[in-house]
């Protein structure tokens, strides 16, 4: 594999995760329910949206730590499982 496609792929991945992070932040406020006062199971509906969204965010962040960790932050290193496994072996 030549260096160029790998670089492009990395850039695409980085952009993808960045967009994902933005969507997670932007969607955690239920804009579509603005001025809505529906109550469900004792709490405002918009609050349920927020609670659900933050749980989703947790899963999103978990996925990121599995598949995207290192992107955009580490330089001069391969992004991948090898270093993680090494850390895992010595951790705890």
């Amino acid at each position: 594999m030549t260096a160029r496609p790998a670089g492009t792929r990395r850039r695409l991945e980085r952009a993808g995760w960045a967009v994902g992070a933005f969507v997670l932040a932007a969607g955690s406020i239920p804009w579509s329910l603005w001025r809505d006062s529906t109550v469900a199971a004792g709490l405002p509906l918009w609050l349920w949206w927020h609670i659900g969204w933050l749980c989703l965010a947790s899963l999103g962040l978990l996925a990121f730590t599995r598949y995207g960790w290192g992107i955009g932050v580490e330089s001069g290193a391969m992004v991948g499982a090898t270093t993680d496994d090494a850390a895992e072996a010595t951790d705890d």
Binding site: A21, L24, A25, S28, I29, P30, L33, W34, R35, D36, S37, V39, A41, G42, L43, P44, W46, L47, H50, I51, L54, C55, A57, S58, L61, L62, F64, T65, W69, G70, G72, V73, E74, S75, G76, A77, T83, D84, A86, A87, E88, T90, D91, D92
Partner: protein, 524 residues
């Protein structure tokens, strides 16, 4: 009267237990700076998560948040949820993981050190430390104010404000002076878990007394129907977004939070912590802030300068339980404050004191060109070098200075807490805004090799001046373009100045952009 005695006994007893943990940690602490300030970078997931969390668990969240939802509606949950659960989590990676890698590689203990080394600039290091200490002051004061109010509320004014505020001041001074980061982190963990449990117990108790969440919310719909509709009143789009951004970015630059970016024992710990953030935030903020909103529907009256959480507890639960929650909240404030004071002390000694004393090693002669500028520079340098030689001494003196600094700082903020106006949320929000002005220049520096020293001076200094003016000068407005806060406007200004001035200037001798180029392998 006897109930008051029991309540004070519970608060006192809890504080003693927290102190005992500090003493145990003290016995395990080496006398090195890395161990004192960073617990030798050995924190595991649970400890790191809770120590950061408990630091956020301050009077601002505990009393200020419910007070706000009591008076303005529960939307504050969204502001804190977005800010803490998501934006902060993203910054935890982008800023925190990067700082961790760089810190592991070069052995940094403070933010100022990290920047000063990269830009070869002692003034930058000192400037960042001075700005941080400046904004730390109101936030420590906020904790003392919260503790004073808590004791007044608990005892119905039988014990005056200054006793609560003064007591917590004394406690945190002793605590920081003896135990260092390890003790602080251990009690944080204990307190974080305890507070989470207590808040849920409080919600369960109160809701069972009033007939469940549906009944409580129905009462709220009768008295304050506006509270259930999302937005409105205080909560405009601009307010929600700018407050969340300003607090989240500000939090990362708090000395005690920023220093935690250096303390994780491995990458794995940072990863696990990241994914747990949003869940933990929901678990804490939803019950705590809903209590405030429900209290409005239940017609709970809050005494002037009091807090809604103790008020609703007093009305619906037993006296001893109110005391336990107040003790937990005070301990949480103490753990926030002692982390702050500890980090503040490291900024003071490492970034302000040591650079001056290190000057003693320097040669005050400059190239002998007789220009006026050179003559002025030579005299300034000579003066600085003599000051450095005067202050130079061994590390014992530095340790003494750190502890003396903590005593002076905490005492001054205690005195200020007796007179300062403003609600807990206002004071906290202002401090967060001040810290937030640092974040974007630091991010630019970490990721953009073209950043120059002058770009940093302009970005850090310019944003700070603008924000200070908006806070302290009445003619500079605090909100722009239909509700965007001065803090967010200042952040944008800082970004533009850092990038613009960096493009217009060249790297000075002594700058080294490669300092921040670190790979994961280096980090491990």
């Amino acid at each position: 009267m006897t109930e008051t005695a029991i309540q004070l006994g519970i608060v006192g007893g809890y504080m003693v237990v927290a102190a005992a943990i500090g003493l145990v940690a003290y016995r395990l602490t080496d006398r090195t700076a890395e161990d004192y300030y960073l617990a030798s970078r050995t924190f595991g997931t649970v400890v790191l998560l809770f120590t950061t969390f408990a630091t956020l668990l301050s009077a601002f969240t505990f009393f200020g948040g419910p007070n706000l939802t009591y008076s303005a509606g529960p939307e504050w949950i969204l502001v804190m949820g977005v800010m803490d659960g998501i934006i902060f989590a993203v910054l935890w990676y982008v800023l925190g993981y990067k700082q961790w890698l760089v810190g592991q590689h070069h052995g940094y203990v403070t933010l100022g050190e990290m920047l000063g080394d990269r830009f070869g600039s002692r003034p930058l290091r000192g400037l960042v430390a001075a700005i941080s200490l400046f904004w730390l002051f109101p936030y420590v004061m906020l904790q003392q104010k919260g503790a004073g109010q808590a004791i007044v509320g608990l005892t119905d004014g039988a014990v005056p404000f200054w006793v609560g505020a003064g007591g917590i001041t004394l406690f945190m001074i002793v605590y920081v002076a003896v135990s260092g980061m390890r003790g602080v982190a251990w009690t944080d963990t204990l307190q974080g878990i305890l507070m989470l449990g207590l808040i849920w117990a409080a919600v369960a108790w109160i809701l069972s007394a009033v007939g469940g969440p549906t009944a409580a919310t129905a009462r709220l719909a009768e008295t304050n129907p506006e509270f259930l509709a999302l937005g409105g009143g205080l909560y405009t789009h601009e307010y929600v977004i700018s407050t969340a951004i300003s607090i989240a970015f500000g939090v990362t630059m708090f000395p005690q939070i920023n220093q935690r970016f250096f303390v994780a024992s491995s990458e794995k710990v940072l990863k696990r912590t990241l994914a747990l953030w949003p869940v933990l935030v929901v678990l804490l903020f939803v019950p705590a802030f809903m209590l405030g909103a429900w209290a409005a529907g239940l017609g709970v009256t809050v005494p002037e300068n009091g807090n809604v959480v103790p008020a609703i507890l007093n009305e619906y639960t037993a006296g001893w339980f109110t005391a336990v929650v107040v003790a937990g909240a005070m301990a949480a404030m103490m753990s926030s404050s002692d982390s702050m004071l500890l980090s503040g002390a490291s900024y003071l000694t490492r970034d302000l004191y040591r650079p001056v004393t290190d000057l003693a090693e320097e040669d005050p002669s400059l190239p002998d060109r007789a220009s006026l500028a050179n003559r002025i520079r030579r005299s300034a340098l000579a003066a600085a070098v003599s000051l450095g030689r005067l202050l130079r001494s061994d590390r014992d003196r530095e340790t003494l200075l750190a502890r003396a600094g903590v005593v002076v700082f905490a005492t001054l903020s205690f005195v200020a807490s007796l007179y300062a106006p403003g609600t807990l949320v206002e004071i906290g929000d202002t401090a967060f805004g001040g810290f937030a002005q640092l974040t974007l220049p630091v991010l630019v520096a970490l990721y953009w090799a073209r950043t120059t020293r002058w770009g940093m001076y302009a970005g850090v200094g310019g944003a700070q001046l603008f924000y200070l003016a908006s806070v302290f000068l009445p003619m500079v407005p605090g909100s722009y373009l239909g509700g965007w806060s001065a803090s967010v406007v200042g952040m944008a200004l800082g970004l533009v100045l850092t990038v613009g001035v960096s493009l217009a200037t060249d790297a000075a001798p002594g700058e080294d952009a490669t300092v921040y180029t670190v790979s994961a392998v280096d980090g491990d």
